[in-house]
């Protein structure tokens, strides 16, 4: 990527005990694989927990969106600890409150409502991602 500030880093939490954690992960893949593959990239939360230097450098150099599965907000806390600049903290629970018909179930495999909730969450982030990355479309997608 030519302009170091034109990619948004997505950090979902690694929630393994609740469907809401899986929604966070699914929404992150919606963004980086389907909706904005050239404008976003993932950073694995476990690498930040471990203090991996490369991952810390990436979150320190780019705007970060965190997506958390519960009120413990692990992704947001770990990105802050890593010196990252969070432009948006998303709580899956808050998004669910706006879309009560999309109740996620299943952890290893989400039900269709959970998959849809993830997509809705991801789509709600698009205007912000587009504003942050305006002019970057089509550029080399390496951070």
């Amino acid at each position: 990527m030519k302009d170091g500030m034109r990619k948004v880093v997505i950090v979902p939490c690694s929630g393994i005990g609740k469907p809401f954690g899986t929604v966070a992960r699914e929404a992150a893949y919606d963004l980086v694989e389907d909706l904005r593959p050239h404008a976003t990239r993932l950073v694995a939360l476990s690498k930040l927990v471990l203090g991996d230097a490369e991952s810390r450098a990436i979150v320190a150099a780019h705007p970060v969106i965190t997506i958390d599965g519960c009120k413990l907000n692990c992704a947001a806390k770990c990105v802050q600890e890593s010196g990252g600049t969070i432009v948006r903290e998303v709580a899956v629970l808050e998004v669910f409150r706006q879309h009560k018909d999309l109740k996620p179930e299943g952890i290893a495999e989400l039900n269709p409502e959970g998959v849809r909730l993830a997509r809705v969450l991801a789509e709600e982030l698009l205007p912000e991602i587009d504003a942050l990355t305006a002019g970057a479309a089509g550029e080399d997608d390496h951070v």
Partner: protein
Amino acid sequence: MSDSPERKAGIIACSGEELAEGTVTRLAALRVLHDTRRGDTVTLCLPLFLAGGEGERTFARDFPTITVDGCELRCAARATERYSARPAASLVVTELAAARGITGVAGCRRLNDAGQRAVEAVADELAGLVDQVLGREGAR
């Protein structure tokens, strides 16, 4: 901790979002937690070691813990040792897959066939380690 019948093994998966092997850790851990060793195992979201409190950091001291990592960076094993206690056992998906002749694991979000075979292999190995750390070898 006593050897009472309630004794459980802890499982911590790296859940690495950037590699398909990270997805393997998550699905294999869930299979053991919810299916093959249900009732014998407990888990903790890995980031709670950093984002949580003292209660989370005693996890690997309270439960003999097995870490499951996607690659040789071994984030779960190293974070568990750093923040809680040395894991009782650990697994690395890339190593186990290579040992079992499973190649071409791909698909962070939806694993391919090789990835599914890796989940089975890791879950199987993990269940054996659960028995081992709980002193139930030969129980399977």
